[in-house]
Symmetry: C2
Subunit: 246 residues, 2 copies
Amino acid sequence: MKIHASKSHPRYLSNYYRDLLVWGVHKGLTSPQGLIAQGRGETFDYLIGEKTCLFAKKATMAALAVLIDAKHPVISVNGNAAVLVPKDLVKLSQMLKIPLEINLFHKSKQRERKIADYLRKNKATNILLADNAGIPNLSSNRRFISKHGQTIADVVFVPLEDGDRTEHLISMGKKVIAVDLNPLSRTAQKATITIVDNIVRTLPLMIKLYVRLKNTKKEKLEKIIREYNNQTILKEAISHINKYLK
Amino acid sequence: MKIHASKSHPRYLSNYYRDLLVWGVHKGLTSPQGLIAQGRGETFDYLIGEKTCLFAKKATMAALAVLIDAKHPVISVNGNAAVLVPKDLVKLSQMLKIPLEINLFHKSKQRERKIADYLRKNKATNILLADNAGIPNLSSNRRFISKHGQTIADVVFVPLEDGDRTEHLISMGKKVIAVDLNPLSRTAQKATITIVDNIVRTLPLMIKLYVRLKNTKKEKLEKIIREYNNQTILKEAISHINKYLK
């Protein structure tokens, strides 16, 4: 992969991930529209200071508690997530023993297969593809889900989604954990737990926190979940951006 | 050109311009990185409410006064601008009788030629390409400018730039008019006049205002310019975003 970003550039990391996604488009893993979505996220990341804030740490902790406590959790993966954090997605999937379900907004069987291959190259073993099972009343391509995955899941972890899928999953009675840099988005507002952070920081943090939490007693996990309030977290994120802008 | 955006979608316009830029990438007019830049702009546009605010109207008025009053003004065009508003760029260039100078960050002779052809297809007659003239002390590809254009220009209109070019043009003694949706960016902060607005709204507004201003007396134009304060405008833009977030 050719990365043009110069290590001496003050915005090296941001440029590095840009180049990575452009590479992903050339390889047929990311959609061109995925690049625009990355840009939207970049602005919000810039407005939260490009770091994992306390509101994101609290949400990440609660997310892990929910995932560990879940019966049938599943991780939903799109093209951007697969290109940005393939190894971390695989690691988390293996640690939690839960499947990676590929779910694309700009649907293409070919791209789906390429993403599956790319995740397998990164040692993924538990991959699901969308089949004919569907989310009721959702017209976009994201309505297609796997009958072994999101259809039976009680918890769906959706790093990098936008649009209407979250609220439909919620209305199907599922818990949704979203990673979304925009605290005002529909996904952020509707999710059970919203991690307002960059996925390239969230996934490594989840892996680290999992090691701390994995042997935690069920009561303790339930306490973390019970005490978590997503509306408060979103307000903290918005107020943080406000302070940054002053 | 294939536009996937549905007219019934509440975010039709935003989706339309996304599809337009993806088309631009396929045609070799826009760089893939240009899509990420579009996404960054989209977020700021969303945060200002996707409309032309008073601070943008005031800046656009001052920008036109400066352009009409200038000796050697020039419009700098990159891939995104050429794809988003080709007809308006050509119209403004013809009304003001000033050249369109193609200036790319992700430089490619082939893309430069394609953009020139595309602008000509949209009836442009006054196009300049970068030659060996250069901006001193600027290492990116944007240092290359035309000796008949930005080298001798007293005013450079740069819709959609980011990075360090604006401050270098300023240090060469030129006035810079920028269209930048991010009021905190280096370009926005360093420009003589910063129009915090979406280029797809700014260019039509400039054309409309030109008709009103073209026969204005020099003293009146100079008064508009003298009374304009870019720092105040930027503060108004930031405060507007803050209110939107509350």
